[in-house]
Structures are given as C-alpha cells and as structure tokens.
C-alpha cells in the first residue's frame, strides 16, 4: 500500500452516475436501500448506510462527498476514548469496540462527515474509511469508489502525486478550472482533494478558506495543555490563601494583631 494515500476528485468530469456509491456500498457490505431519512438528515445525501454520495448542485454540477481524511483530523483529536484513529498510513478509521457513542466527532467534523445509526440500540459511527483494511492487505490496489468511476473523475495516488496532477490539470486548462485546490491547506490539509469549475466552500459548514493552514485540534490543545498548571496553580493559590487567612485569624485571637475594621471583613447588610 502506498503511504499517504489520497483521492483527487475532478468535479468537472463527474457525471453523477453514482457507480462509486454502489461500489462503496458493495465493498463495505452496506444495504443497497437506505432506510428512510430522519428529520434533520444531512442534505448532501450522506447517511450511515451511504458513506459517499453525489451532492447535486445547481447547474448540473455533481460533487462527490466522502470523508476527507484530514491530515490533522478534528474527530480523532476530540474522541475521548480514541475510537477514531488516524492510521500511520493516512486513513482515519473507527473502532466500534472502543466507542462509547458520545457523538463529539460528529460535532467536531467541519465537513459533517460522521453519521450515526439513530434507529439502532447498539449504534456505531459510520463514515468512509478509505477501504483501509483491504488496501493494507493488498486485496485491492485502489479504493472501490475510484475503481468504479467510469469517467476518471476520481483518482487515487499519493498526496504528492495527486497535488501535482491537480496543478497540472489547472495549468493545462486554466479556463476550465478555478485556480484553487480544495483540501490542499484547509484545516491543515486533507487527503481528499477537489478541483472544480465552481466554488466548493459549501462542502464545509463554514467557508474553509477562513481556516487555511489552521488545524482545528490546535484550538483545543492550546487550552488543554495548560491543564496541569491550572490544577497545581489553583491548588497552591487556595492553600496559600487559607494559610494566610488562618494565621491572621489565629494571631487576632492571641491579640498580637488588632482586629480588622468591619470594612475589611466584607461588611454586613444587617
């Protein structure tokens, strides 16, 4: 298996035939028929039984959605038990046996990718895992969705090669593409890249260009790494405060120090 696997989606080439969706469902053993959508389901077509979907946009533009396999994934950083892991090879995978179902990953994902089995009593988080197990064991050489694509709208290779290919395509036909590779830098970079003739900022909850080169996990880690100091600092402060006040009160009782005026004592209302 290549290290740093990456998918490049060329939006201009996608015709929306959904062969990738069918292939994904087949290789992951998902039911062909999705259960009825819940109230408030995601409008991009993703669900617990549909890990990749064709998001149909105005003007006949078809955008394939799937897990972006971020280089610094927010979902992995927030999972309190580490049920979601970024593998050394790159894909972000999920371990049901560890998960406790807090759904923090769903809240933290800027693309709204993890989905939940709401009607199950023993629910899992479901999302694309980039065919990790089968790629690793060498059973397949490309993810099922890439193999299924009849128009080469979705390509597979190392991230470097995919970035180079994206740049090559944009340079070769500058009129056809917008000069931007979605996923190159946003949220610290993703392993699923897009080149397109339309703006793709709708793929994230908020315009990802506001988060260029800014991995989300840093935001929580900046606060969390202070935790040990906060703990010790607050403990030390409280002990010191108690010691000073206690000593002062003891001395007062012994008459060494004159009793403080009522003002200092915090005053009374009665």
């Amino acid at each position: 298996m290549i290290t740093d696997p990456c998918i490049l989606n060329d939006v201009t080439r996608c015709i929306g035939c959904e062969e990738c969706v069918a292939a994904c469902k087949k290789i992951n053993g998902l039911p062909a028929e999705d259960p009825p959508p819940r109230v408030g389901h995601s409008k991009d077509g993703l669900s617990a039984t549909r890990w990749t979907s064709i998001f149909r946009r105005p003007g006949g533009v078809n955008v394939r959605k799937q897990c972006r396999h971020c280089l610094e994934p927010a979902c992995v950083s927030v999972c309190p038990v580490g049920a979601l892991q970024k593998t050394p090879e790159g894909p972000v995978i999920y371990d049901k046996s560890v998960c406790m179902g807090c759904r923090y990953c769903m809240m933290a994902c800027p693309y709204g990718i993890p989905h939940y089995e709401w009607s199950s009593v023993n629910p899992s988080i479901r999302k694309c895992i980039l065919c990790h197990e089968k790629l690793k064991s060498g059973e397949i050489d490309r993810p099922a969705c890439v193999t299924a694509c009849p128009k080469e709208a979705t390509l597979f290779g190392s991230r470097e090669a995919m970035l180079a290919e994206a740049r090559r395509r944009i340079e070769a036909q500058p009129g056809k593409y917008l000069p931007h590779i979605w996923g190159e830098h946003e949220f610290g970079g993703t392993s699923v890249l897009y080149i397109s003739n339309v703006d793709l900022s709708f793929l994230a909850w908020e315009d990802p260009e506001a988060f260029e080169n800014e991995p989300l996990p840093e935001r929580t880690w900046n606060a969390l790494r202070k935790v040990p100091y906060e703990f010790l600092g607050m403990g030390a402060f409280m002990t010191a405060a108690w010691w000073i006040i206690d000593r002062r009160m003891r001395l007062e009782r012994e008459g060494t120090v004159p009793p403080p005026s009522s003002e200092e004592k915090g005053g009374t209302d009665e």
Binding site: R103, R219, V227, F231, L232, A241, D269, E270
Partner: protein
C-alpha cells in the same frame, strides 16, 4: 412534613414516572425513537441541559467550600453541607444523564482504560469521576455523624480542608474544559458565543451559577419546610453573586468588543435576540436586583433574582451547545417531549433523593428535627373514617406514599402510551408521475424519466397488470402513488372504518373475521376473497393481495423495476446487458443525462451490485 412538601413530592414523582416510561423506550428502541437528534444536530437537550447545565449547576459545592473553608467566612458554614449535597447529587445526575445520551452507555467506563489526553471530553470525564469521589468523601461525614464509625468520621473531618482544596482544583479544570469542548467548532458556534476565551468564560459563569443556585436552593428548602431563611447568609451570598456576575458581564462584553463582534448583538437576527434574552436573564436583571439593598434583604427579591439567574445561565449552556449552532447547520431542532421528560425526570428523581437526605440526615439540623417532631405528632393522630369511601384512613405518611405511587404509575402508563416507539423519520409524500409518453417520477422530480409508451410496446398492450398489480375498486391502471404514497414510509391502504360502514355495521364482522378466536388482521379473510374481480390484476408480480399496507414508493419501484430489468438484461434477445444498472433509469438532471447512460454502458464489466 408540610402540605407544600407533599404536593411538591407528588409532582416530582409524577415527572419521574414519565421519565421512567421514556427510559424503557430509550433502552429498548434507541436514541432514534426518543429524541429528535439527527446527523446535523447530534447533541441536543440531554447534552446542553443535563451535562453542560448540570455540571455548572453543581458548581455551588466548590464555590461555597472556598468561601467558607478557605476564606474562612464562618457565616456561610450553614450553606456548605446543602451545597455539597447538591453538588454530589448534581454530578450523579450528570452521570445518569450521560447514560441516556451515550449511544453505547455500557461503555461509559472506557475513558478510564482508553486514553486520549488531547480530547477535552476525556479531561471532563476524568474530572467528573474524580470530583464525584471527592464530593462523596466530603459528604460522607453527614451519613456517619450518627453512626458508630467515629474513627472514620473524625479522619474525614480532618481531611475536610485538603478535600475541599482538591475539589476546587478539579472543578476549575472541568468547568473550564466544558468551554474548551466547544473550541473545536468555530464553524458551528455563532461568534456571539465563540471566543478563544470560552474556557475562562465557562469557569466564571459556573461560579455565578453556583452562587445563584445555592441562594435559589436554600430559599426553596426554607419555603418548603416553612422555616425562616438565613437572611444574613443569603444577602451575603447575593453580594458575592453580584460581584461575580458583574465580572462575568464585563469579561463577556470586553471580549466581544475586543474581537470586534459587538455589532453582531445589535443586528436583527435570531442569535442577537437570543443573546440579549440570555444576558438579561443571567446577568443584567439579577445584577440590578442584587445591587439594591432592599431587594437583597427581602426573601422574595433574592429568590426571584436567583431563579432568573439559574434559568439564564442554564440557557447560556443550552445556547452554546445547541441553539447558537442553528445558524450554521440550518436545522430546526426543538427537543421532543420525551427529551424534556428525561431531563426533568432526572432532576426530579435527584430532587426526591435530596429531600429524603435532608429529612433523614443532619444536612440542615433544623429540618431533621422538624421532621422528627412531625413524626412524633403523627403517632397521636387517630385514624380517620372517611364517610365517602367507607374506609379508615391511616396516618398521612402512608396516605401520601400511596398517592406518590399512584402518581408514579399513572405517569408511567401515560408515558408508555404517548411515547412514539418508532424512530422519527421524515415523511416525503410522492408526487404523482407526470407527462404522457415519458413519465417523470421520483424525488427530486425528474430523477427518473420513465418511457411509458415504450414499455407498453415492449410488454404488450393487454398486459398492464404486470406493473399495475392492484387497482382501486372499479378502477383500472391506478397510479402507483395512490397506494405507495410516501417515498420511504409504508402507507396503510385498508380502510376498516369504510368497510364497516359499507357492510352494514357490527353485524358484518363475520364476513371477514372468523366466528371464533380473536378478530385481528392476521386471521381475517384476504382482500382477494371479495375483490378478486374489481381490484386484482392478473400478473406475475403480485398473485394474491395479502398486505394491508403498501411499502414505500422507492422500495416498491425498485422491487418491481429491477426484478424485471435484471431478467431482461440476461436475455440475449434483448441485447442490453446493462439494463439493470442504476444509471439506466437514474440519468440525472440535464445536461449530463445522456452521458451518464453512455458511461454506464461503456463499462463493460457486468458485475451486478444489487
């Protein structure tokens, strides 16, 4: 026990009963049936109120501990035990609430073994576990005071101060970490709430909420047990609360101004209005009320201000974890009644435990003494003969216990009846297919273009029944949407009421139901028994009409079309091996329509995926 206590307990038992009913559904049917949470709103009331709010509500424990034991304000010693009891029960309630909210509650212990120190939730989980232990040790002396375990009692009393300081440190961490929790979602949380200083803000607001909660709670217990509240203590706490709230207000507005987001509060948006309601309830009104000395000395005044503060700061937690995210997700989320029932039910249940401990253990000695006096009095009350029911009524304790049980059971049954046992799904009514030669069917409109004329030609003019397998009585070629009325959900197509009316009322039962045994759908005669001629079509698809409900439109269309398409695809005479592929029918919207089919036909490999 006063009349007030009895009525209050009755109400609390009723709400607990409702929650018990929802509990049964929650743990047998899952989150889908008991909440309106969805993939766009994975966190709802149970996180916002029970976890975020619950932890902050219980902050009184460490705040009062600091004031009374570390800063040695002896006047507040009265408040320490009730505040610690509230904190202990509050955190226990949070843990119970989590059991409902977690999808896999039996894995709740996993943070002990599986570590991810980079997750704020991991930090919160550990702190809550540790703090629950500390609180238990802090409160244990109350249980031990009147027992034989004097040695342990004295040791715990000696350890009181270190335990309280440890509790303060742990609380500092997880109160602020609940704010850190939201730092990862700048894209969801509205900028009026999102700030890099969320941890600090959460810590300060937890102190505010802890203080107003202690005031609120001692006012309520005083009212319940008809005692005089500790006026001096309450007004002192009100002063502290005013200080904390003023600091919170200044911090919050300075932060908004500093980040240049203050103007957002003056725009005419849902978030701006929400912000002002929250600020007014949590900070502005309580602050003004607490600052007026006359209000501070009046029990009602302090109670009103504290109650507003409690609701306001709870709203803050609910906003931050839900309402202020609607802006980004665009999903309307309003909790189902089952969610409210569980949230309030957990609070009610723990309030009952709180009252029980107050009445039986020396938390506030006056209450135990009064309860004891009341019990003594009851010994001399003779049983009363009720003329109406002709029975001897026992003493009030047992009478009220019977009332509580009754309320609980009634609520339980009511809850079980009202709870929807099926997961909530979106109804998607199907529009009737339109067009002449080429019908446009499916959702979104135009996804599938169905050449009706071509199919008639292929299958044969006299074989409509191959597809139109069932008609309305007296009709032919009834459109699919008449029965398969929803894209996903089954439709009930048997109208029992109409049949009873047409067949001459109750005398006609025997025409469909057997004379002996239960009269239910399973044993009734099949529709084809009477409707062989006017509804059934001779075809290979549906030979006997046995179902009283029609499956969803998509399921039935797929079953009907794909079965036939697959068979024809294998037929060499037709010569269309790709006939069963999705793209044959799902050609997409213009302009790619033809290209999709071509692409599909171009890929020669014929691996059926359905």
């Amino acid at each position: 026990m006063t009349r007030r206590v009895q009525i209050t307990k009755g109400i609390l038992w009723f709400i607990t009963g409702l929650a018990a009913a929802v509990t049964i559904v929650r743990f047998t049917r899952g989150l889908g049936a008991t909440t309106v949470l969805s993939d766009t709103t994975p966190w709802g009331l149970w996180v916002g109120f029970d976890v975020m709010g619950g932890v902050a509500l219980a902050a009184g424990g460490f705040v009062i501990g600091a004031i009374a034991h570390v800063f040695r304000r002896e006047r507040y010693h009265h408040a320490v035990r009730p505040a610690i009891l509230t904190a202990l029960l509050g955190y226990a309630a949070v843990a119970v609430g989590l059991l409902y909210d977690l999808g896999l509650p039996w894995n709740i212990w996993h943070p002990i073994v599986f570590w991810n120190p980079r997750s704020p939730l991991f930090e919160v989980a550990w702190c809550v576990m540790l703090y629950l232990t500390v609180l238990f040790l802090e409160f244990l002396p109350v249980f031990l005071e009147r027992t034989r375990f004097k040695g342990l009692y004295r040791t715990l009393l000696k350890a009181q101060l270190p335990l309280i300081i440890l509790g303060i440190s742990i609380s500092t961490l997880h109160q602020s970490s609940l704010g850190t929790l939201l730092l990862i979602m700048p894209f969801r949380l509205h900028p009026l709430w999102y700030t890099p200083h969320l941890p600090e803000l959460f810590f300060v607001s937890a102190i505010c909420l802890g203080l107003v909660m202690v005031i609120f709670e001692s006012s309520v217990t005083a009212w319940l047990y008809e005692r005089r509240p500790h006026t001096a203590m309450l007004s002192g706490l009100a002063r502290f609360a005013a200080g904390a709230i003023a600091f919170y207000l200044a911090f919050r507005f300075f932060d908004l101004w500093h980040r240049g987001n203050l103007h957002l509060a003056f725009e005419n948006t849902f978030e701006a209005r929400l912000f002002w309601v929250e600020i007014a309830m949590s900070a502005l009104i309580p602050l003004v009320l607490f600052l007026v000395p006359r209000v501070r000395r009046s029990h009602t005044g302090v109670f009103v201000a504290a109650a507003l503060g409690v609701m306001g700061f709870l709203l803050n937690r609910i906003d931050a974890s839900g309402l202020a995210q609607v802006w980004a997700t665009g999903t309307d989320y309003f909790p189902a009644w089952t969610e409210f029932a569980v949230s309030f039910g957990i609070v009610s249940f723990f309030a009952l435990i709180y009252l029980f401990i107050q009445e039986h253990f020396p938390v506030e000695k006056e209450i135990v003494d009064e309860e004891e006096k009341w019990r003594q009095r009851q010994l001399f009350v003779l049983p009363r003969f009720d003329r109406l029911s002709q029975v001897w009524l026992g003493d009030r304790t047992f009478a009220s216990r019977r009332v509580y049980s009754l309320l609980f059971v009634v609520a339980l049954v009511l809850g079980l009846t009202l709870t929807p046992w099926q997961p909530l799904v979106e109804a998607s009514p199907v529009q009737r297919a339109r067009g002449g030669e080429v019908l446009r069917v499916g959702f979104p409109l135009g996804t599938v273009q169905f050449p009706h004329a071509e199919h008639v030609e292929r299958i044969g003019k006299d074989r409509c029944g191959v597809c139109h397998h069932l008609h309305r009585p007296g009709d032919v070629g009834t459109p699919c949407t008449e029965c398969h009325a929803d894209l996903y959900l089954p439709t009930r197509i048997f109208d029992h009421v109409a049949h009873v009316r047409v067949l001459d009322g109750n005398r006609s039962c025997a025409r469909c139901h057997p004379a002996e045994g239960p009269r239910e759908a399973a044993t009734a005669a099949k529709c084809s028994a009477c409707h062989e001629k006017d509804m059934m079509a001779a075809n290979e698809v549906v030979t006997r009409f046995e179902r009283t409900d029609a499956p969803g439109y998509r399921e039935s269309a797929h079953a009907l079309c794909i079965a036939c398409h697959r068979k024809e695809a294998e037929n060499p005479d037709v010569g269309k091996p790709d006939l069963f592929r999705c793209a044959t029918c799902h050609r997409g919207v213009e302009p790619h329509g033809e290209a999709v089919l071509e692409a599909s036909l171009a890929t020669a490999e014929c691996t059926p995926h359905r």
